[in-house]
Symmetry: C2
Subunit: 204 residues, 2 copies
Amino acid sequence: MVHGAEELFARAGHLFVGTTELACAANDLYTWVATQPRHVPPELHPRSMRKLYRPGVLLQPSSTQHLRTVAARGTAVRISQDDINETIILDDRAVILAGAGHGADRNYSVITQPDTIAGVRSLFEAAWRASTELAVCDAQLAELRTLAPRILELLGAGHKDETAARNLGLSLRTYRRRVADVMRALGATSRFQAGVRARELGVL
Amino acid sequence: MVHGAEELFARAGHLFVGTTELACAANDLYTWVATQPRHVPPELHPRSMRKLYRPGVLLQPSSTQHLRTVAARGTAVRISQDDINETIILDDRAVILAGAGHGADRNYSVITQPDTIAGVRSLFEAAWRASTELAVCDAQLAELRTLAPRILELLGAGHKDETAARNLGLSLRTYRRRVADVMRALGATSRFQAGVRARELGVL
DNA sequence: CAACTGGTGGCAACATGCTGCCAACCGCTG
DNA sequence: CAGCGGTTGGCAGCATGTTGCCACCAGTTG
């Protein structure tokens, strides 16, 4: 159990070097920003990299673009509808689980116990199988992505549906359809939760 | 216009040194964490410091405690019901206005033009006069503060009022009263907005 | 004890949000 | 043109959230 990303890399950075298969799950683009310590030569990068995200990241043009380039560099990127705790798996040597807190003030559990690793791996594999290729979701959410930032902004400003819909030139019905779409993408079951997640993703 | 807190201190840090009257407004405790560059001796600290916050920070025990110690060290701390853009005022020499973005990715406008400074100062003074002593709000929100974190957690988990109320052992009516209290403290007019603000404050 | 106070919970009325249904309207294709 | 699939917007009905009103209870005070 380590505290903060810096300490994580200081204490567990060596585990990353020489990993051949790396898999990670995250809810936003901030969490495992650097999945490589600085100054690791390309020949030591993992042979296979897989990243699992939530659909919410595809609501932001910039995040989407980033994932596209990551995918273009050979990393397999998929989108999961389920709520996954943030995780990194390094071969069968170690897993790292992110815990409570956010930003620089977050705890991480570094686990090297083989049985636990096997368990986490199997769970990850199940989630991976149940998830969708980036390109597919990307296409599905293409039009929504153009509208979502404005919708979230209006919601975040505390507008009623009525006024927000008029503001966007949509009917109340269609506006609410889009809000429902956004909430589905965020995996939220209430507007409060949607607000929290939108803020987590850095929209707003 | 500078980008990021680091650049701000690099470019405008010298303005802080020798300031006799410092006033700032912020929505959370992260924004103007360091209102002094490192290594400034106490005799050069401002003679008068005033800080203006939103009631939401008093929903967290830890933030509240922090503000109390700040106040105990001689800084005047007040709570404003209004939505204020984050601002620092350094005598009548400069004002710094925080702009869009959050965290390390935020823009700041450093203004030294006298007329603008005068205008911002007068607005700040108006807001300051309309605001309340920390101690008063602190006392008013004392009981709510014990409940708020649990309420926000349940809301953030996407629970319906029904189940959340049962979970807390409250009646639906009282639970909703508390939710309304929390939303008032956050200055939110919709639950979505409340979610965003709760996340901004670092609750959750 | 009586009066007062502050918090609670039930009820009701209303506001807001959610979603299925359907008719209307594209743009496309055969 | 006719048919098709997809999107829109209105409507209705229901679910959820918001608030005032009031009766009740517990603790306090005179």
